[in-house]
């Protein structure tokens, strides 16, 4: 059984999400909902951000990803939603 993850949105994430508008914002919320209950779902492509320890990314769609940071508070681990931005995977 998958344990639901805990999530905290950063102020920057909220700002970036609002700036993106639709339909990306809805896609991002859908991805987050999925991440909450099944973080290892293959469609999310949840992976460590190779350039920075403690950071991770999930896929929103072909061109957008969410940057997350692993954090801990007194109740345990959680993910901080750092930012959302375009991440074109077609170059690599």
């Amino acid at each position: 059984m998958t344990v639901p993850v805990r999530i905290k949105p950063s102020a920057r994430f909220r700002k970036s999400l609002a700036k993106l508008g639709e339909p990306l914002a809805s896609r991002a919320l859908k991805a987050l909902k999925k991440f909450h209950v099944a973080s290892t779902s293959p469609g999310l492509n949840f992976e460590a951000f190779k350039n920075r320890p403690g950071f991770f990314t999930i896929r929103v769609d072909r061109n957008f990803r969410i940057l997350l940071k692993a954090e801990t508070d007194k109740e345990g681990p959680y993910y901080l939603l750092v930012d959302i931005a375009d991440h074109d995977d077609t170059y690599s």
Binding site: P4, P9, R14, L32, F49, Y91
Partner: protein, 180 residues
């Protein structure tokens, strides 16, 4: 701190190589025109590959400089400007890339059907592959630098006072509410 000037310069240097257009040489179709084009192409490829190394090196330097600043507790004030600039540079190159790749793929096709010597064909096809690889590395480097800066920025800035959500619906409701 400002924009990463060495990176700005390195990107300007590769633009010349990206303007290569071999169509004229194939239109003429003479052995001399094709040989001349091949020489020019290989020279531009050399410039492009050198430029790519400069772009990668200056991106690495800029990242290390930013890391030093953040580790000293200073978030560079113009980090947002640098992230936005990288995004626009990457966007410009992303738009150019399909046309550039199409051009090189056309050159590959023309090479196969041309009357060039087999050794020249092999050299040109190999140069085409290298050109495609180098052209992809630049936007990829800009993208990776931008994302690394976004992560670094998060290490130095206040994440705000939002709660930690256990429940997905509460999180979604919160995110749908416009921030003040």
């Amino acid at each position: 701190m400002g924009l990463p000037q060495p990176l700005v310069d390195a990107l300007r240097d590769v633009e010349q190589a990206e303007k290569f257009n071999p169509a004229e040489a194939f239109r003429k179709g003479t052995e001399e025109s094709i040989r001349k084009m091949l020489g020019e192409f290989r020279r531009l490829l050399g410039d492009l590959e050198k430029g790519v190394e400069e772009v990668k090196g200056s991106a690495r330097d800029f990242l290390q400089e930013t890391e030093r600043e953040i580790s000293c507790g200073r978030v560079p004030q113009d980090l947002d400007v640098a992230v936005d600039w990288l995004s626009s540079q990457e966007e410009d190159r992303r738009k150019q890339l399909p046309a550039l790749l199409e051009l090189v793929q056309k050159l590959q096709a023309d090479t196969f059907s041309s009357r060039m010597a087999a050794a020249d064909k092999a050299r040109l096809l190999s140069a085409c592959d290298r050109f495609i690889t180098a052209s992809r590395v630049i936007p990829q480097t800009l993208r990776d630098l931008r994302w690394s800066l976004m992560a670094l920025r998060a290490e130095g800035e206040d994440p705000g006072d939002a709660p930690v959500f256990d429940n997905p619906q509460d999180l979604l409701d919160y995110l749908k509410t416009p921030s003040k």
